[in-house]
């Protein structure tokens, strides 16, 4: 068996490199990512320029500001960092199928037997580093026989270093003991004893090393030397979630692609069924003859593995694809899946999907119109007219839950997004009763309206400051114009500063 060859990649400033990607002008300025803990703001990460002037992660933001008053800051986002590393991991798959994460800012690539494909180890490592640097990443990488040795070279040797096969001991000779991935106390003790480099440990008796510093230290040393195997947790790609098809002749038309989908999707769905999973997001990649890619992504509201439903989601989007000189490869990748256990078919139902036909209709609508444009209403706990309903994407809500109250005073069925100011509103009270006749211009016509019902006083929620309700309580009236239009208007009870009197607004019809 050939010796393993492992590349260690260290993305030292991963968090800040990610944060400046949308705004590269920040790259050379001192920048820190901050996170709050209790009442204090700490630095979560700092970039190279900041570290040069002595700012390091873990500092208080206030102390960092005294060192560098114009320190740029951005909020830390651990989730985004993790996703970014995941994206880099996916990208490095072109070098090797075996990739493991190394903490939050590093990767291990097992490239055993891969190097010749990239012109040798030197060309491969240089290519990898220069391409990562093009993404705006501060990258160091090294290649050695073991993960431990590569890790040490990356951080304490020179970047781009290669320890030739069976040269591990010689290469690590001058590397400081910190390179062994030991706890800080252990390295401190080693330093106090004058053991500064890994090479100094080689000749020492193992038994006394283990007795003095613990098994862990000897194990780390053995792992770096290759005397003990170090298992790496490689991130596997779920092959079950991908299907692809290579076409003998390039295709151009939508029906041709649909025909391919009809063959690929049942295959994918069958595989997912074995894993009891359903698709939430599905990506279709069309590889054209000129090796460019076109990607389409569809989403579903609930896990789904009905081939027909999924094919229909692509139908409208396929028309937007420019097939160029033809499509020669079609790939489907279930990017997000969720558990979906097989459900027993109902006696009288023709669908195995728990969400039913309405769910798949909502999916189809949402994939074309956008998930935030297919909506459902639910009652909200507020007496303010604008807040009477919670509007949420239909794909992620249901019609269950409390019903809307029956309002004793009628409510309009259409509400203006912002109430229309009615300038020149003149009300003449009737002699009998509380009603009035109003004259006002609306929609380029002078209107005369009788009050039908009112006033209904609605007071603002005093515990919330809502700018729309700064005019105080409102008296709502139903008016009926001479043409029969019913208007839901209100009058503010306090006049806004600089106006003659309380103003009238039209809010609904």
């Amino acid at each position: 068996m050939p010796r393993r060859r492992i590349i260690s990649i260290w993305l030292r400033y991963l968090a800040t490199d990610r944060a400046v990607r949308p705004n590269p002008s920040l790259r050379d300025r001192p920048l820190a990512l901050v996170a709050e803990s209790g009442n204090r703001v700490f630095l979560h990460a700092a970039n190279g320029a900041a570290e040069e002037i002595g700012i390091c992660p873990g500092m208080l933001l206030a102390s960092a500001r005294t060192l560098c008053p114009d320190l740029a800051t951005a909020p830390a986002d651990l989730r985004a960092d993790r996703k970014f590393l995941e994206a880099i991991l996916a990208w490095t798959r072109r070098y090797s199928p075996l990739i493991a994460r190394d903490g939050a800012d590093g990767l291990f690539l097992d490239i055993t037997g891969c190097a010749h494909l990239f012109g040798g180890e030197r060309a491969m490592l240089d290519g990898l580093m220069s391409k990562l640097a093009l993404f705006g990443l501060d990258v160091s990488a090294a290649l050695a026989d073991t993960a431990g040795a590569a890790w040490a070279l990356t951080r304490f040797g020179h970047s781009g270093g290669i320890a030739e096969e069976r040269e591990t001991a010689n290469t690590l000779n001058t590397i400081p003991v910190e390179g062994l991935r030991l706890p800080a106390e252990t390295t401190e003790t080693l330093h106090r004893l004058g053991l500064k480099t890994i090479g100094q440990l080689y000749g020492l008796p193992r038994a006394s090393l283990a007795a003095r510093f613990g098994r862990e230290m000897v194990r780390r040393l053995d792992q770096a030397m290759g005397a003990e195997h170090e298992p790496l947790l490689f991130e596997t790609e779920h092959a079950a979630h991908r299907v692809s098809m290579r076409l003998a002749e390039p295709v151009f038309t939508v029906p041709a692609v649909e025909a391919c989908l009809d063959r690929l999707l049942p295959d994918l769905c069958k595989r997912l069924e074995k894993r009891q999973a359903g698709i939430r997001r599905l990506e279709l990649t069309l590889v054209l003859v000129d090796n460019t890619e076109r990607k389409l992504t569809v989403g579903t509201a609930a896990p789904n593995r009905t081939a027909g439903d999924l094919a229909r989601l692509f139908r409208d989007k396929l028309e937007t694809i420019d097939a160029g000189f033809g499509i020669e490869r079609i790939m489907l990748h279930a990017k997000v899946t969720e558990p979906l256990t097989a459900t027993q078919e109902e006696l009288t139902s023709d669908s195995i999907q728990a969400k039913g036909p309405l769910g798949s209709l909502i999916d189809r609508l949402a994939n074309r119109l956008g998930f935030d444009h297919v909506l459902r209403f639910a009652p909200a706990d507020s007496h303010l007219p604008e807040k009477a309903a919670i509007i949420s994407p239909a794909a992620f809500s249901s019609d269950e839950g409390a019903a809307f109250h029956y309002m004793p005073v009628p409510r309009p069925i259409r509400l203006f997004k912002t109430p229309l100011l009615l300038p020149g509103f003149r009300a003449e009270p009737h002699t009998a009763g509380g009603g009035f006749t109003a004259r006002f211009p609306l929609w380029r016509r002078q209107r005369t309206a009788l009050s039908l019902q009112g006033p209904e006083r609605i007071t603002p929620e005093w515990w919330l400051d809502d700018p729309a309700w700064r005019g105080g309580a409102r008296d709502y009236w139903w008016l009926e114009t001479e043409r029969g239009e019913r208007l839901w208007v209100y009058r503010e009870t306090t006049a806004a500063p600089g106006t003659a009197g309380p103003r009238w607004y039209l809010q609904g019809t």
Binding site: D316, L347, T348, D350, G356, P357, L358, S360, L361, I362, R364, L365, R368, L369, H373, V374, L375, R376, F377, A378, P379, P385, A388, A389, A394, D399, E400, G401, A403, F404, H405, Y406, M407, P410, R411, P412, I413, R414, L415, F416, K417, T418, L452, E480, G484, E485, R486, G508, T509
Partner: protein, 236 residues
């Protein structure tokens, strides 16, 4: 689907019990108004697309959709200055939670959404807010989709002009004094037309005396009425 006729029969009976306005055998949804229903041939036929015009067209659509069971797909325009307000639906006898609103940025999207909704059979009623007159081809597509899915299609516009050339029936509704509405049938399968003064509310509204009922030939729009607004006329 099961092919057992007994189960089919049971399902039909259950659905007839569940929704009094909707008779599965006759496949129409009634207004619950003893005057209006006969003129419309029992009510609005399911599997057809009908058109409501006038200031209160939306209110009538909500009222009729509330009489059908199942979800209601509402294909709305996205860029208007007002939006549907669900708190007002209860007074029309419709549970707003049944509504699925599809905000469409273009008339093409709205047509597509309405067609998908009608064809899927997943919604009991599909309401489309009309903007401009539809061509015969699109109208025919909607009609075929409604037949396939078995839903009730409603084209709703606030104006006074017909937009949908192939409507199975066409209604004009506008408010009139006293919290009532003037409902006018301008086109129907039976060939009858007519105008009525109605109220829209939850449950079955009590039948009201009609303003007048007009026959096949009589022009019904714009006729005067007396002070009480109640002129009872016999059906031709």
């Amino acid at each position: 689907m099961t092919a057992n006729p007994k189960i089919e029969d049971l399902r039909r009976r259950v659905s007839a019990l569940e929704s009094p306005g909707q008779d599965a055998e006759k496949a129409y949804v009634s207004f619950g108004l003893s005057d209006v229903d006969p003129a419309a041939g029992g009510g609005l036929a399911l599997r057809r697309v009908h058109e409501f015009m006038g200031w209160s067209a939306q209110a009538l659509a909500i009222f009729m959709a509330g009489r059908i069971k199942g979800a209601i797909l509402w294909c709305a325009r996205m860029h208007s200055d007002h939006e549907l307000y669900p708190a007002g639906f209860a007074a029309l006898g419709c549970d707003a939670r049944r509504l699925v609103v599809a905000e469409c940025s273009s008339p093409t999207d709205a047509l597509w959404a309405a067609e998908e909704g009608l064809r899927s059979g997943a919604a009991g009623a599909v309401v489309m807010e009309g903007e401009r007159p539809l061509d015969l081809g699109s109208a025919r597509r909607l009609q075929l989709a409604a037949e396939e899915g078995g839903a009730l299609g409603l084209i709703v516009s606030a104006g006074n002009d017909a937009l949908f050339p192939a409507a199975a029936s066409r209604w004009h509704i506008a408010p009139e004094p006293g919290g009532r509405f003037r409902l006018e049938l301008t086109r129907s399968r039976t060939g009858l037309t007519g105008a009525w003064s109605i109220t829209l509310g939850p449950g079955a509204p009590a039948p009201r005396p009609s303003l007048h009922s007009a026959g096949r030939t009589e022009k019904s729009r714009g006729e005067g009425r007396d002070d009480g607004g109640l002129v009872v006329a016999g059906r031709v």
